[in-house]
Amino acid sequence: LTLILREEVDLLEVDLADVVITYIDHLERRGELDLEAATEFLVLIAALLELKSRLLLPGEEIEEVGLDPGEAAEELLVRLLDAHRYRAAAAHLQTLLEDESGHRFRSAPPPAHLRKARLHDAHAVYAPAVLARAIGGLLQLPPKVDLNHVTIHKVTVAERLAHLRRLLRRGVFTFSEAVAQADRVTVAVTLYALLELHKQGEATWTQDTPFAEIEIAATGGMTTVTRLTA
């Protein structure tokens, strides 16, 4: 952990895979490869990876995204504390389980003759439509799956850029709206197009929490629209 943090290099220039391997090698040479340390290290590396991927995206706009080193450190801290918290909770669960190890439960099914009366007390509580719906859902072929897997996907970044710009002209919209009913490839390409828009300074987005909805808005500089149409 310390070793990584002490690395006085720009996160963007670090090959994280190298760091991981070097670190593990280092620990092994010193005969110190214990799981506790390795786990903490992995949490940290995962967080670094996420930060790095974000740093890579917007080019010079690091400050705007709120990732000055201080805040980056703060975010890492939150991550590490979270991991520690749940590891402690896990230890507590282990203790509970151990305390319970002397209590066994009967697993015998009740004698059949005591269960026979069940039918008399049964009422219609479920709607048969539930079953029809479930089977209907299972019958559905995944959308467009055959095409996507057999041929090269037909969605281009240019198409999705045009699509996003159309939406931008109408105002603020969410990512879900942008990819409504789209297949997975389209979703991915749309995301790529969105990153491109951000890089060009045409759009910004906000997302309150991870996994939450992404809101996309124009930055105002609509003049750049014509610049990139490839």
Partner: protein
């Protein structure tokens, strides 16, 4: 006044409580670390205690072993408890599993898993336990087959499996079942194929970040 249970009796009581089938006094003696004669005497004492204290269960000697079972007096109440079908809302996994069974019965567990794209083990176990499905022999490959029960029909208010609602966009025909089965399996395989190539779906945080 309180009678403390003798240590050996207590151990035997615990062991019998755990065993659904009769246990031989030899096995009990081994487990309890006691002599055969002591064990037989302790079991005798336990049995008399249960009777005298009018407990809710009795100790019986069956098939060369000992087993605890409920006292016959408790059976009416037990029937009321166990007869109440447990009907919490079906989870999506249970609804899917049950739907496959009712439309294709008899159907094997591997087939259900293939259609759903994920294991149906725990859903099937719950449905079995609640008595809405039951085993119906084995397929030619030795897999357990399932079918629905009479309780299932009652809980869904159906007179017979033939009264099931029609599946939207699906024409009932003489080949109905075979075709339905084929189509379900095709869709299941297709889903499995999709799952295999889109591991990235498991990381929506990338998309959100």
């Amino acid at each position: 006044m309180i009678t403390e249970t003798d240590e050996l009796e207590r151990t035997l009581e615990g062991l019998l409580f755990l065993s659904s089938d009769p246990v031989t006094p030899e096995a009990l003696a081994d487990a309890a670390g006691a002599e055969f004669d002591e064990v037989v005497a302790a079991l005798q004492a336990l049995r008399e205690d249960y009777d005298a204290q009018r407990r809710g269960f009795v100790l019986r000697e069956l098939a060369g072993g000992y087993v605890l079972s409920t006292h016959p007096d408790v059976e009416p109440a037990a029937r009321r408890l166990l007869a109440r079908p447990r009907t919490p809302p079906l989870t999506p996994a249970q609804a899917e599993t049950l739907a496959i069974i009712v439309y294709l019965q008899p159907v094997s567990r591997p087939e259900i898993a293939r259609i759903r794209g994920v294991s149906a083990e725990s859903a099937a176990a719950t449905l079995l336990e609640r008595g809405v499905i039951e085993e119906a022999g084995r397929s030619s490959f030795g897999a357990v087959l399932y079918r629905t029960t009479e309780l299932f029909l009652k809980l869904f208010g159906l007179g017979s499996p033939a009264e099931l609602p029609e599946i939207e966009g699906f024409d009932p025909s003489p080949e109905f079942e075979q075709e339905l089965r084929d189509r379900l399996l095709r869709a299941g395989d297709a889903r499995a194929g999709v799952g295999a190539t889109t591991g990235s779906e498991a990381q929506p945080s990338d998309a959100g970040a």
